[in-house]
């Protein structure tokens, strides 16, 4: 098991957002989290990268484990964080660095790779996501879809055990969504272990090995995509899915 998260509880200003989240994921599998806004799916995802620190529960990724509720040293947090890398809804590229530099930053500064080698790997990855022409452009010179693909290359370059996607296409114009989803499908096919928060049900149906439906801080329902998306058991899940489908 590459990833396992047990009984995680998280409270924001007196309001319990996560009420005991449990799941695990094998290497090379893709897990999709769906659910209404406020259901806790993004908080769950951010917990995996320790961008949120819950009050209780445990998180294990590869050979790293942390127990929440105890004091965590900065070193422990950093070691755990390096197991995964996040692709953000708003891209969060470094605006003062070019596309290439956005990708080399972590390689050079964190992984201490030689700049030349880092640039080669970054160029190769940006080439793979279709940005060969844009290596030396700054984020503001790129479209949202291009920025998000830089964001994906930045995460992949570090070769983390786990890739995390937080609604990676929600901020994009509809015609740009396809390019980003295609890159993500390619990654899944290559065997990357991924956890994806998304409203793209077609992507979930095509790529996910398992889908979790979160509601009010709990996992209400889980299953293979063709089961959960086609024959949901709970009324809440049915409502949610039909609302999403009607929006399209």
């Amino acid at each position: 098991m590459l990833l396992s998260i047990k009984n995680v509880h998280k409270t924001f200003s007196g309001h319990e957002i996560l009420k005991g989240i449990d799941f695990s994921l094998d290497e090379g599998k893709v897990l999709v989290l769906i659910g209404p806004s406020g259901s806790g799916k993004t908080t769950t995802l951010r917990t995996l990268n320790l961008l949120e620190i819950p009050e209780a529960g445990t998180l294990q990724i590869a050979d790293q484990e942390v127990v929440f509720g105890q004091a965590l040293s900065k070193k422990r947090i950093q070691a755990m964080r390096r197991q995964s890398a996040m692709v953000f809804q708003e891209y969060n590229l470094f605006p003062h660095r070019t596309a290439l530099e956005n990708v080399t930053e972590g390689l050079i500064i964190v992984q201490k790779m030689a700049p030349k080698e880092a640039q080669e790997r970054a160029a190769e990855l940006l080439n793979k996501v279709g940005l060969t022409q844009h290596l030396n452009k700054y984020p503001h010179q790129l479209s949202g879809g291009q920025q998000q693909r830089v964001g994906i290359a930045r995460a992949v370059a570090l070769q983390p055990k786990l890739l995390l996607f937080d609604e990676p296409t929600s901020a994009l114009d509809p015609e740009l969504v396809g390019d980003v989803l295609k890159v993500m499908k390619d990654l899944a096919r290559e065997g990357w272990t991924m956890v994806v928060v998304t409203h793209e049900l077609k992507f979930a149906a095509d790529v996910a090995d398992e889908v979790l439906f979160l509601d009010d801080g709990r996992i209400l329902e889980r299953g293979a995509p063709d089961v959960l998306l086609q024959q949901p058991q709970h009324e809440r899940t049915k409502q949610f899915l039909s609302r999403i489908l009607n929006e399209r």
Partner: protein
């Protein structure tokens, strides 16, 4: 009723020409170096105080708060007087120029600290998270991600601080530094041509500040390379 006579002002062009260089010289050897040195020290102090203010440690926060409050709550001329005329009572005797540098640096430190703090806070939280997610430590994110972006935001307000500092160095005249303004003052003592000499001093300050504003524009456009064009 006092009477005003217009048209009776005669300009002593010869005095203007003779006094220009000594006044300008005061500016070049005292005003500008005092400005530059005090700004560098003040900036370092300000950065430190800004980070103290943003620190999780209450002790550091309070040190910075108290320091900033004292500096902003007291006149620079009084700060200068304390350093130059007051410290000797504690056995600390400083020459005029070091006194001026210390007081001016402390002053800049207090004002620029708030500017820098605000610039750091203006960088979106997502930038911190992007740094963390690629495995950076807090210090690395600060240095490589946050401060370069905060720098862009802080150039206009820090330029203001810098340009104010050029003019504030005139207060060093009160601790006997023969900078630009004091030079003009000394010359008036022999001929009482206040209007001419102080106008000359004003002109030279204005020229200094004019060139510094050009420098500010240059820096802003340099740092704009990566910023989206402003609407």
């Amino acid at each position: 009723m006092p009477s005003f006579v217009f048209g009776a002002i005669t300009v002593d062009w010869d005095l203007a020409a003779r006094s220009f260089w000594p006044i300008l010289q005061g500016g070049l050897i005292y005003t500008l170096p005092l400005t530059l040195i005090s700004f560098v020290f003040g900036f370092i102090l300000a950065l430190m105080m800004a980070l103290f203010r943003l620190s999780k440690w209450a002790v550091l926060q309070w040190i910075a708060r108290i320091y900033i409050s004292i500096i902003r709550g007291t006149p620079l001329i009084v700060q200068l007087a304390i350093v130059f005329y007051g410290l000797p009572d504690l056995g600390i005797q400083l020459s005029p120029i070091p006194s001026a540098i210390i007081a001016l640096s402390l002053n800049v430190g207090g004002y620029a600290a708030e500017v820098i703090r605000a610039s750091i806070l203006s960088v979106p939280r997502g930038q911190w998270e992007a740094g963390y997610t690629i495995g950076m430590s807090e210090a690395q994110v600060l240095r490589r991600v946050i401060l370069p972006q905060a720098a862009r935001v802080s150039v206009p307000p820090l330029s203001n601080t810098f340009i104010s500092l050029v003019k504030d160095t005139s207060l060093a005249s009160t601790v006997t530094v023969t900078e630009l303004f004091r030079r003009a003052q000394e010359i008036t003592a022999t001929n009482y041509d206040f209007l001419l000499l102080y106008s000359e001093a004003a002109l030279i300050y204005w020229i200094f500040c004019f060139f510094l504003s050009l420098g500010q524009s240059w820096m802003e456009s340099r740092l704009d390379r990566y910023a989206a064009p402003r609407a």
